[in-house]
């Protein structure tokens, strides 16, 4: 089977992909290029269309409109077994009636490859489980099954490896370990990985590029650091980590900065960190960038006064404060426990301050809570 489609190589391109169920657009006019050899993550809450997108790339679903290319080959309507694409399924979908060896050999045997034993042994070495070759999948632990699922897919050297929530069934510790391992395997084999997840930490640990999806569309795409530091929408700001988003109005320009009025207090934000279309903005600052101090202190940078601590939770590496502002909004502050000063108490009057370079400004007509109410664990 060495025809054009199974041997296609190159970047994965999705062109204007739409998938409709009844009158619901699961995926809405999605256009995306995933460079060859990259580790790409599709991140979003359940129902955002990421799994549907993955299934269309795998050939398990057909797009309603649009087309999918690998390099210059159109694979939109190609059968799954004729695509150079392999999938690591959620819950692995190993063949329970076959040994681990035969599970891994399955794809090679279907393609009539000669040195099956050699290749299977090699990939079992790679995932460090050669001693389990003769076992059945049910005799393996969750983490081992996960690695076999990866081995079964990458042994075929596909142009594209799809991972559908691959770590969802593992406990937290194992998940962390597997994140590092998957990243290492990807570097080792140099294949393009497309990883679908609702877990932002998982996406950030492994992916070179993340596309944040919401309601069938890509909200924003970029490196993990870029997405975190420069969110362009309220959804991204809230879904990737946490953000304080405060309604404000741009009142002036000071050199490279915009002056924003937040309920009577003036703060600054760099012009190039604002995506606002007019004077109405959502002023954003990440909780860990904020310094919190008793009202009496004088502070540098941007300052918001008149806060009252409404809740304190001590979680070891940091202390998390909820601070009620004069206009009624609760702001979140994470303070590293690195200064030996005992945490402030509930009811204390405080000032909040931060360096202006950390703040960002979004379109003020957006819903400030978008992306914060979705429960990402609910898939």
């Amino acid at each position: 089977m060495s025809d054009a489609s199974t041997s296609a190589k190159g970047d994965l391109q999705l062109k204007n992909i739409t998938k409709t169920y009844g009158d619901f657009n699961a995926v809405d006019d999605l256009t995306l290029t995933i460079p060859e050899g990259s580790f790409f993550a599709l991140l979003g809450p359940s129902g955002c269309g990421k799994t549907t997108t993955l299934r269309m790339i795998a050939g398990l679903d057909e797009p309603t409109t649009g087309s999918i290319y690998i390099g210059s080959t159109d694979i939109t309507y190609e059968k799954p077994y004729r695509r150079p694409v392999n999938t690591v399924f959620q819950n692995y979908a190993l063949f329970p009636h076959l040994t681990i060896f035969e599970n891994v050999a399955f794809g090679l045997r279907r393609r009539g490859i000669k040195d099956v034993k050699e290749q299977v042994d090699k990939v079992l070495q790679l995932v460090e489980l050669p001693h389990l070759a003769e076992r059945k999948p049910t005799q393996l632990s969750g983490g081992q099954q996960q690695r076999i699922a990866v081995a079964r897919a990458i042994v075929n050297r596909p142009a594209l490896l799809l991972l559908d929530e691959p770590l969802g069934a593992l406990d937290l510790k194992l998940r962390r370990q597997m994140q590092i391992e998957l990243k290492w395997i990807q570097t080792e084999v140099g294949l393009t990985f497309v990883h679908v997840t609702h877990d932002q930490e998982e996406a950030m640990t492994m992916a070179d590029t993340i596309a944040v999806m919401n309601e069938g569309r890509i909200e924003q795409m970029g490196t993990p650091a870029d997405l975190y530091d420069n969110p362009k929408t309220a959804f991204v700001a809230n879904f990737l980590g946490q953000s304080n988003l405060i309604q404000g109005t741009v009142v002036d320009t000071e050199g490279e900065n915009l002056v924003v009025d937040l309920f009577g207090q003036k703060v600054r934000v760099q012009k190039n960190r604002s995506v606002a279309k007019d004077s109405s903005v959502l002023f954003g600052i990440r909780p860990e960038k904020i310094r919190i101090q008793a009202d009496s202190h004088t502070q540098s940078g941007c300052v918001l006064e008149g806060g009252t601590i409404s809740d304190v939770s001590y979680i070891g590496v940091s202390t998390q404060y909820q601070v009620e502002m004069p206009w009624g909004q609760e702001l979140m502050v994470f303070e590293q426990n690195d200064d030996g000063i005992p945490p402030l108490d509930k009811g204390d009057r405080v000032k909040l301050s931060w360096e202006p370079i950390f703040s960002f400004a979004l379109n003020g007509h957006e819903d400030a809570t978008a992306g914060s109410e979705v429960n990402p664990e609910e898939e």
Binding site: K79, P80, N91, F95, H97, F106, R110
Partner: protein, 298 residues
């Protein structure tokens, strides 16, 4: 056991302490054991004992002489019917499998909201008596029946063809009567297959047919084994179908045993044949399970 219960903390269930003291599992087994003893073991011993008797002076009188040669005599007299029974049962089982597998597959994977309706329809024939349904087949296959007329229209039969009282009628009758016993275990094992394993096979370069052959069939083997056994065993011992749908040349071993018991009242011969049938079925089933067991069952 003690470690397990102590881990669960103090038990609030009075049955737990009972279990530890008197061995509740054994207590629960008692009624069943008693039942088997009375209605299985005892009759078998009676059967074996009757099988080595010889006719006495009076009618219906038999004397125990431990004549094991009865078995040899019975086999040489009736081996044709034995072999015929097993061939009929095997053909009927294969036919039932050929009909039931696509049916069970469709119910398990393709029926959507009709799944439960279809399952009820599979079982529905049980609401009508076994004998009645078999008699109905005689009507369906009769020369003045609609099926015959349809076949005649397509020139598949002519007026001299006899569909009833034939080997074909007996085998199809057996298949028909035991079809639910084939369908339900097949459905149960197909339905348990994770559809993602089939998607995974497609993802790993297997086309539809290869996926069916390499994944679906192996994973449904428990259902195939259960279904074929549940069909073959009763079919091999059946006498109703051969009696109602057959002719003198389709006599199965069940018919012989039936006749020896109830008409000829040759109890030793009937008992001998019954016991041979039981042993033969047991032996064939054991070989079959061992062979099927070497396949990669889950």
């Amino acid at each position: 056991m003690a470690a397990l219960t102590s881990k669960r903390g103090p038990s609030l269930n009075p049955l737990d302490s009972l279990k530890n003291k008197v061995g509740l599992p054994y207590l629960l087994l008692l009624p069943g054991m008693f039942w088997l003893l009375l209605f299985f073991l005892a009759p078998i011993l009676t059967l074996v004992s009757t099988s080595t008797k010889v006719p006495g002076a009076g009618i219906g009188e038999f004397i125990q002489v431990h004549r094991w040669a009865n078995y040899w005599d019975a086999l040489s007299a009736m081996h044709t019917q034995f072999i015929r029974s097993f061939i009929y049962a095997t053909l009927a089982t294969l036919l039932a499998l050929a009909i039931a597998y696509p049916l069970a597959y469709a119910i398990a994977f393709k029926s959507g909201k009709w799944k439960n309706v279809l399952l009820v329809l599979v079982v529905a024939p049980f609401f009508c008596s076994f004998i009645l349904r078999t008699l109905a087949w005689r009507q369906i296959l009769a020369q003045d029946g609609f099926l015959f007329k349809i076949l005649q229209f397509f020139h598949l039969v002519n007026s001299s063809t006899q569909l009833t009282a034939s080997t074909l009628a007996v085998i199809t009758g057996l298949s028909y009567n035991f079809l639910p016993f084939m369908t339900l275990p097949l459905y149960a094992s197909l339905e348990r297959i994770d559809p993602r394993t089939m998607e995974a096979a497609g993802d790993l370069y297997a086309n539809g047919f290869t996926t069916f052959r390499k994944v679906t069939v192996p994973l449904s083997m428990p259902g195939v084994v259960a279904g074929t056994l549940l069909t073959w065993i009763p079919a091999a011992g059946d006498f109703v179908n051969a009696q109602i749908l057959g002719n003198p040349n389709t006599t199965m071993i069940g018919n012989v045993i039936n006749a020896q018991y109830l008409q000829t009242t040759n109890y030793p011969l009937a008992a001998t044949l019954s016991f041979i049938l039981m042993l033969a079925i047991l032996a064939i089933v054991l070989v079959y399970i061992r062979r099927a067991g070497t396949e990669e069952l889950v």
